[in-house]
Symmetry: C2
Amino acid sequence: LPTLSGKSATSPALGIGLDSCVIPLRHRGLSLVQTTDFFYPLVEDPYMMGRIACANVLSDLYAMGITECDNMLMLLSVSQSMSEEEREKIMPLMIKGFRDAAEEGGTAVTGGQTVANPWVIIGGVATVVCQPDDFIMPDSAVVGDVLVLTKPLGTQVAVNAHQWLDNPEKWSKVKTVVSRQEVELAYQEAMFNMATLNRTAAGLMHSFNAHAATDITGFGILGHSQSLAKQQRNEVSFVIHNLPILAKMAAISKATGQFGLLQGTSAETSGGLLICLPRDQAAHFCSEIKSSKYGGGHQAWIVGIVEKGNRTARIIDKPRVIEVLPRGATATVFALDNSSASSDGSSFPF
Amino acid sequence: LPTLSGKSATSPALGIGLDSCVIPLRHRGLSLVQTTDFFYPLVEDPYMMGRIACANVLSDLYAMGITECDNMLMLLSVSQSMSEEEREKIMPLMIKGFRDAAEEGGTAVTGGQTVANPWVIIGGVATVVCQPDDFIMPDSAVVGDVLVLTKPLGTQVAVNAHQWLDNPEKWSKVKTVVSRQEVELAYQEAMFNMATLNRTAAGLMHSFNAHAATDITGFGILGHSQSLAKQQRNEVSFVIHNLPILAKMAAISKATGQFGLLQGTSAETSGGLLICLPRDQAAHFCSEIKSSKYGGGHQAWIVGIVEKGNRTARIIDKPRVIEVLPRGATATVFALDNSSASSDGSSFPF
């Protein structure tokens, strides 16, 4: 759980529990913000895996509205079960992906550690020294705020379903609800989304006066919403009405019963930011982030509201699922069984 | 190899290659210094293992004469092959050892990441924001300087020999040169030394005008001396004449032929600092660090000199081995075969 350190009465401090730690420094109002994450590869493309790992580390800074990173360390383990040929082919690609994403984040990899291990590990440490205005403490949601999500859910389902394409037993359990082509497209889209930095969203948090944010990773949208709710200074609760999900992944989750995607507990990797915005700013945020000014590759959806409450979060009984089509896919490839397909979440559905 | 970043003409910058990276910050002459290290347990006592891992991470800061640390992140993996009971007994002890050493270093663990892995991993990330006077760039050795080492060599040999106590085949190869009791005592001493912070030495680097330093870890005293020599601005070389070694470990290295301890290539874990000091300061440094003012648990030996040269390092043909007795051991326990046993390295032997 998040703890407030007693180091300083005036500088904000944030301990273990949310996305980054914030350490007040001895130097004139500056704070050290840093975060680390490492995990095991989950996509087959080593270059994309490197990008995803770096995007996932940086995301913890972006969740605090921080857009700069002063240094990145890379944490790596090479698998002992790789042949020398595999190692020399795979590891440089993974490292290049990681470095390229760091560069896109305006930083560079200047240090790290590599070990040998039974499994491949990739991760990093992102560090920045901030002035007070550079970051937004994730504790100021107020009743009436609106919750916005900047990437669709369903990455874990897409990654798993893609593995099942080569596993007839597993595939037989989902083939009635999804085609091979739909899984391929969803996997590509998930990979692209996981490799996308949340940096644009972090910058827009300042433009649109965000009150708090977190990024969605291993505990799913519900778990991270609950962590963020606990952190609030006001007596508020988060209620989620809409779930933007990669097209067809909700059907797979239902058919297998093993992910909890509609319950908000399915793990995400390098997921979007969940941002508390003032009610009159949320729709503007969603349309602004889609602007070609930011490359045209971003989306955002209004997913819930902030109510008076006891610092908890919940998903309503029958949330509206927004089926998010992969970019470039036409609606005819995706045989959607209802009319909720949408890439436009800027209207209030409740 | 170390690279100088082009970020700033006035602030020093140090890239990948030596102990820590130094990143000039946007904030008024401040620099970000950080380092990461993680590895696998090498001693049986989980609490001591935690201390050693933390001391090993901090040591990279201490090698730059930095005595403070603003934040520590802990990197941990729990072994999947542990039973729940083992896990609940071992991991909290390891974490406590790590935290206690961080506290001794004047810092706290405020963040980190834990994963499951076939093997246990423990390590960390140490970060500090420095003013220019807080750190000593490791590049200013001059001809005539003296090299001082602050912990004896031989940790890897002691750890391995200790494992061989339970392996009759391995033990048979060394039992003619060492007793079981000597190995037990050397192992305890190695463990104690590895868990000792180099913080006192880092502080004294400032008092005695150190010109450069590094810490001795995986590449042995020769490997790290060579890295440090490459980093020098002046045309110098390092020549090592003396090797302070845990008593009897040189004999084991010779008997097995597998460590290279006398060649300076035997790996150390959380080893001492190798410091370039002005000739007239080195002996004072060695006597000061032993002072009861610093707890009386520290030692240092003059091990070599800085000559004119092409930025390389070497050990002389027949280096003098200083047999360092474990604290509390009497000379009668250790049947030393020559008269070089010494805990006093403050005289010039060359």
